[in-house]
């Protein structure tokens, strides 16, 4: 009897581990972390909808209590706007610096390297204070004295326009964007450099052998390939930018973080304020990260 019953069991056990294996692997492959975070966000969302304290905290932090027009100057749209504007400038700055870093000219090379190392060697918080409160005024002074010099040369129109640039006329939002862009420009420069260097030497040689100039070869041959390679890294840096944009609250720019500071300072509802703020950042960054991953997957499929 045992022999007769053993056979089918053996056969089944030969199959079963396999099947359990694939089901098991499927379960392991599921993004449980993502479910956990989504559940967390939904749960806090539910609390925001049902508890008046949290509803109020959400409206104040995100700026929705001020209506859509008001949100443009305070709250979540300021966070998104500053991040986008800073990032676009940082990309231009990073590309220029990255190219300068690889240039034949020793001057350009060293200028780029100096900028990158300066930024890397100073904490971002300090940099933001420094650029917004020392750097921008210094540049304004420089513009003013250039204007006076131009007036003394007889170019009164341009000179006059330049001397009228004043520190007060540059709002903190603009300074915050300049500070974030300057900081991230240095990070992105290194990403661009790595991306360009990842393209084989033969590509540049082939382009040059066809008579293209260096800029033409960069534009039509090297950069399109390099950018495709670094797109995930650029995306990840944008996610970091969204988080680091919270530092501009220290310049009294009314982003989500500053709105939370203001709200909790008045109401002493620290728990509500900072739970809502954290969830808002989390929702933003998780969404963006998923977007980056989707782009990455599409690029990989293309190859």
């Amino acid at each position: 009897m045992p022999q007769a019953s053993e056979r089918p069991i053996e056969g089944a056990s030969a199959l079963a581990p396999d099947r359990r294996g694939t089901v098991g692997r499927r379960l392991v492959d599921l993004p449980w972390w993502l479910f956990a975070i989504i559940v967390l966000i939904l749960w806090v969302g539910f609390i925001i909808l049902t508890r008046p304290n949290y509803t109020e905290a959400f409206e104040r932090v995100s700026g929705t209590y001020r209506g859509l027009a008001g949100m443009l100057s305070a709250g979540i749209l300021v966070t998104i706007g500053i991040s986008l504007a800073s990032y676009l400038i940082a990309i231009v700055l990073g590309l220029i610096t990255g190219l300068a870093r690889m240039s034949q000219s020793l001057l350009l090379q060293n200028a780029a390297r100096t900028y990158i190392e300066l930024i890397r060697g100073i904490p971002m918080l300090v940099l933001i204070f420094f650029i917004a409160l020392v750097g921008v005024p210094a540049v304004v002074d420089l513009i003013d004295s250039t204007g006076e010099w131009l007036i003394s040369l007889g170019l009164t129109e341009i000179g006059g326009a330049l001397t009228r640039v004043e520190n007060d006329s540059i709002p903190m939002v603009v300074r915050a964007i300049i500070a974030l862009a300057t900081t991230y420009g240095a990070f992105l420069a290194e990403i661009f450099r790595a991306g360009i260097q990842s393209i084989g030497k033969g590509q540049m040689e082939a382009a040059r052998s066809l008579g293209m100039t260096y800029p033409q070869a960069m534009r039509y041959v090297i950069l399109p390939q390099a950018v495709r390679n670094i797109l995930p890294a650029l995306g990840n840096d944008f996610v970091s930018m969204v988080k680091d944009s919270s530092l501009v609250a220290l310049l009294a720019v009314r982003d989500m973080t500053q709105m939370t500071k203001l709200y909790t300072g008045q109401s002493f509802r620290f728990r509500e304020g900072y739970i809502v703020l954290s969830i808002l950042y989390l929702a933003l960054t998780v969404t963006l990260s998923l977007g980056v991953q989707a782009v990455e997957r599409r690029l990989r499929r293309h190859e």
Binding site: G202, A206, A207, R208, S209, L210
Partner: protein, 247 residues
């Protein structure tokens, strides 16, 4: 047709740090001739070829193309390069562009041809190398032999006066070598000036007007393929030929 050689190389030296890749090369190539360069690895064959269009800047010496001297700072360097097609060992097609775009890009950017004109010329050249049906695909979807033929078409589309081939078949699987050599043979028959670094002795015999044997950064022997293969003068040439013809 002027009678001066289209390529003139005088006392060319190239050092990479302490390594002396070229030790004084003199070479003249007449218009319409096919010159095959052979020699052991490290003999400077590829370096010589790359100095002809200044992909490598020579340490000293002169390169003249069609009566114009190349200098590294020459504003004409890009114009001269456009007249010299180059085919690389590893093809170096642009992987982000389709085959057609590979062949039209430099025409539009360098020759300033309109898109229509560039595409028309590109298709002619693709027909010539035998793969017009692949115009719409990306290089990654082609075999090595097909990629190399596209690379040849890319060079030809610029209407060059000279074509340089840097070991064009060395990276190919054996069954694909012939399709590339056939294209090169046709080109040679049509009178293209060609400077070819290759180990394909069959091609050298069939197509070359002259063969150059290089060793140690010097031209050891420069003669007709018949003489070089049948009665080499120098011992080094004999040794090299015996090594490669053994199997």
């Amino acid at each position: 047709m002027s009678s001066q050689p289209i390529i003139v190389v005088r006392d060319l030296h190239k050092h990479f740090g302490k390594v002396e890749a070229l030790n004084g090369i003199d070479l003249e190539v007449e218009r319409g001739k096919v010159v095959v360069i052979i020699g052991p690895s490290g003999s400077g064959k590829s370096t010589l070829l790359r100095c002809v269009n200044h992909l490598e800047t020579p340490t000293s010496g002169e390169v003249w193309i069609d009566g114009v001297q190349l200098t590294s700072h020459s504003a004409h360097l890009n114009e001269i390069r456009a007249e010299i097609g180059m085919v690389f060992q590893l093809f170096n097609l642009f992987p982000h562009l389709t085959v057609l775009e590979n062949v039209t890009l430099a025409q539009q950017v360098v020759r300033k041809r309109s898109r229509d004109e560039a595409e028309q010329i590109a298709m002619q050249k693709l027909v010539r190398v035998g793969i017009p049906e692949k115009a719409g695909v990306y290089p990654g979807q082609l075999s090595g032999g097909q990629q190399q033929r596209v690379a040849i078409a890319r060079g030809l589309a610029m209407n060059p006066k000279i074509m340089l081939f840097d070991e064009p078949t060395s990276a190919l699987d054996p069954e694909m070598i012939k399709e590339v050599l056939d294209v090169m043979l046709d080109l040679a028959k049509e009178g293209m000036t060609m400077l070819v670094v290759s180990h394909e002795m069959g091609f050298a015999r069939a197509a070359a007007d002259e063969v150059l044997f290089m060793d140690g950064g010097l031209v050891v022997e420069h003669t007709t393929p018949h003489d070089l293969f049948n009665n080499p003068r120098e011992d080094r040439t004999k040794l090299f030929l015996s090594q490669i013809l053994k199997h």
